[in-house]
């Protein structure tokens, strides 16, 4: 277990007539190396939940645990939890911003956080904040920029001169440069053209293949089907399902959560409805389906 949520509740605008539960009794675990898709309709609490993973917000009740870091607003619970840890980890828990080095978070439209005069300086900003020496920070930043596919001749350009997709890749590099163990991305493909979207998805897959845990918040079920190993479904602030993509998309309840069925599963459903004779219910990707369809043609 790398991340654990234990009975998390979060109330927005507490003590206000507009107060409401953004998270209500959420409990689940994520293992190291998982690719988790966090899905649900708008306002279901996805973005709020991921912010508890790097202490940007503290759960009103319950706690999030990321390795040995505990995130909660309940001081008594926090003390109780960290009291069992070795001294060094206990001290790190007291400086909660250190959790942000471990958990990198790419917000929706991350290009809006760019501010420095040059691309390289902007990417170096994160590692320098985490006290990485200048030379090492530069090295890490150059690597991160190369990893996200930014050419070297862009490094000294202003980030504001770049295209939307390039800005987003620079912003992602800004997080990767701190070398987090866990990467959380909040709708990273929102507002991108198909080419830009494909590039970002491939990039995320590459990052995951290096062994990092990835948590992806998205409405795009095709991406979920392509990348995720585990799906967490939220609905009206509650956790309603934890399953594999196959379980969710082959099930009958996907539309009750206001989620779109991926193109593959729509096609498969259509084939079955039209009376396709072979058993294709256990097939979960286009390659296998094409081979079955091809076999029939022969």
């Amino acid at each position: 277990m790398q991340i654990k949520c234990e009975k998390i509740k979060y109330i927005y605008n507490a003590k206000d007539p507009n107060s409401y539960y953004a998270l209500d009794d959420i409990s689940f675990e994520i293992d190291k190396g998982d690719f988790v898709a966090l899905v649900g309709k708008t306002g279901s609490g996805k973005s709020t939940l991921i912010q508890t993973f790097n202490a940007l917000i503290l759960p009103t009740e319950g706690y999030s645990q990321v390795e040995y870091f505990y995130v909660t607003s309940d001081k008594k619970l926090f003390k109780e939890k960290i009291s069992k840890l070795p001294k060094e980890e206990r001290n790190e828990n007291k400086k909660q911003f250190l959790i942000r080095k471990k958990v990198g978070m790419v917000f929706q439209f991350p290009e809006y956080q760019l501010f420095a005069e040059t691309v390289l300086k902007d990417v170096m900003f994160g590692p320098k904040n985490f006290k990485v020496p200048e030379d090492e920070a530069k090295e890490l930043s150059i690597k991160a920029l190369k990893d996200v596919g930014i050419p070297e001749n862009y490094f000294e350009r202003s980030p504001f001169e770049l295209s939307g997709g390039e800005k987003r890749r620079v912003a992602i590099a800004g997080i990767l440069a701190s070398n987090p163990d866990i990467l959380i991305l909040d709708e990273p493909t929102a507002g991108l053209d198909p080419e830009g979207k494909k590039e970002i998805i491939n990039l995320i897959k590459e990052i995951h293949s290096t062994g990092k845990t990835v948590i992806l918040v998205t409405h795009d079920m095709d991406v979920v089907m392509e990348c995720a190993t585990k799906i967490v479904v939220l609905n009206d602030a509650k956790l309603v399902k934890i399953c594999t993509p196959e379980e969710l998309f082959n099930g009958n309840d996907i539309e009750t959560y206001a989620l779109e069925i991926p193109a593959f599963y729509k096609f498969k459903k259509l084939l079955i409805e039209k009376g396709y004779k072979k058993d294709i219910s256990s097939i979960n990707n286009f390659d296998e389906l094409i081979s079955v369809l091809g076999a029939q043609d022969e």
């Binding site: 003590k15 206000d16 007539p17 507009n18 912010q51 790097n54 940007l56 911003f97 942000r100 080095k101 990198g104 978070m105 917000f107 991350p110 809006y112 956080q113 760019l114 501010f115 900003f125 994160g126 904040n129 985490f130 504001f160 800004g174 997080i175 701190s178």
Partner: protein, 295 residues
Amino acid sequence: MNSVFGKLTPFNTIIHRLDPRVKIISLIALMVMCFLPYGNYANKFIILGGLFLIIIFIMILGKVSFWSFLKSLRHMWFMMIFLVIIFALIPQAGDVSEKHVMIAFENGYTIYWEGLLQTLHITFRLAMMLSLTLILTSTTSPMDLTYTFERFLTPLRLIKFPTQIISMTLSLALRFIPTLLGEAQKIMKAQRSRGVDYQRGFLNKKIKSITTLIVPLLVNCFSRSDELSLAMNARGYEPYEKRTNYNILIFGLKDVVAIFVVLLIVGGFSTLCYFSNNVEGFDDMINLIFGVPTF
């Protein structure tokens, strides 16, 4: 928006239902009452205390959060300390023999109680102004405030003053305050994810931290205003055309009653002001009722 520009609280109290013109006029009238000269310090604090009780009553009627008010006072500590230092260091005008000595130094320099009282007096009046502003912004929607300002500016049309453009600018500015604040919060969270600490650190570090917020916010703001102006043009907005209002403000019976109550308050406190400055024996009466000596 947990400041004096507190967001509208969605209640339906009598204060919420009042015509915004009445609320603004009442706010100005009560603010003027805070600044009338009520004689000596004993009179000032007792009379202003009475006025403050009325303001608290209005806050209760309008279900205005007292907690928001207390939070807005947090920022006044620095000013209070600054004022105490100023009043302690600057020699007091007037006859020194009349002043009440607090500390007399050996070198002849003296600090008087008047300095402390003056600071408290100014702070108290500012706190009352803050509470009145909070009542207005918590019970009146920004759009209603804009319509009211537009109405108040109407006479300026006679001298070809572009009141509608000013009003539109004001309403857009008010409309986008929550949006920009929301955006600022998002940027701050994104930068905090990259290790920025907006709360701790020395001045140079804080300035650098603020840059990480201001630059993206300004870039977004300019791009948003560009998009907005294009969208307005696309929907046929012509700034110099004559415009009608969708929301018509109606002056009702409750507004008449409110104006009457405010007039009573203004009359009462103006009379107290007159008595405390011109009527002999008023100080003694205050002393007799409240047991506070003249100071």
